[in-house]
């Protein structure tokens, strides 16, 4: 079974989120993922990275690793933030600040786009993992 691995580290700063999206979008395009799925991927990556920024951990980095195997791209986004999938519920929208609302919507988007996304604790933070099918 052939596997390809890719890795990106970016500073934990808002200005660098575009790099994470470009990285993800480029991989999806390289492996000929369709346009809509690529858009979904970029949203999910952006949401995961934004979540990491919200909690401002000490490490100062967002680490994204990608494994290509068996006709899928498996993304793992490591951050020191709170577990994104544990956050919030839609009933908090009414009184949420803009920042809180962004996190609520971000969780909703990841759950909708990648229902099988999983969260695993790491050293002081969490890894968010989801996969994107690629053509055979």
């Amino acid at each position: 079974m052939e596997e390809d691995r890719f890795y990106l580290e970016i500073p934990l700063e808002p200005a660098f989120l575009v790099c994470a999206r470009l990285f993800a979008g480029s991989l999806a395009r390289f492996y000929e993922t369709d346009h809509d799925a690529t858009d979904d991927l970029k949203v999910a990556v952006s949401e995961a990275c934004t979540n990491a920024l919200a909690k401002k951990p000490d490490s100062g980095l967002i680490k994204i690793s990608v494994l290509r195997r068996d006709h899928e791209l498996v993304f793992e986004i490591e951050n020191g933030g709170a577990a994104i999938m544990e956050e919030s519920a839609s009933d908090q929208v009414e009184h949420a600040s803009t920042e809180e609302l962004a996190r609520i919507l971000g969780v909703e988007l990841i759950r909708s786009l990648f229902p099988d996304a999983s969260v695993r604790r790491n050293n002081g933070g969490h890894d968010l993992t989801f996969s994107l099918p690629t053509p055979a």
């Binding site: 808002p14 809509d36 803009t98």
Partner: protein, 96 residues
């Protein structure tokens, strides 16, 4: 608006909406034709802007969103919150 709206650029959108409201412009059209990407931060800014505008009984309409933005509006249910139009002219006409 142009380019990508995320946690880095969304504050500029927020400032512009609030600036317009402060100037007394309570019927705002946000034209998304040149917006290539938007995530939850951008959506939250739009919702925040709408809340402020509603205090003045105004309106905030979206025009010409790309398919990817239509999708996230739908996934979050915000397609039921914001009027969305295919053109700026249609949005303007809707207010008459």
């Amino acid at each position: 608006m142009k380019g990508e709206v995320d946690v880095y650029t969304a504050p500029r959108l927020r400032e512009e909406i609030l600036s317009q409201v402060d100037k007394g412009n309570h019927r705002i059209i946000v034209d998304l034709d040149e917006v290539d990407f938007m995530d939850s931060t951008g959506l939250a800014v739009l919702v925040g802007g709408l809340k402020r505008i509603k205090e003045h009984e105004g309106s905030l309409m979206l025009t010409r969103p790309k398919d990817s933005i239509v999708r996230i509006l739908s996934l979050t249910g915000l397609n039921k919150v914001f009027p969305v139009f295919e053109s700026v002219d249609e949005a303007i006409a809707s207010e008459k």
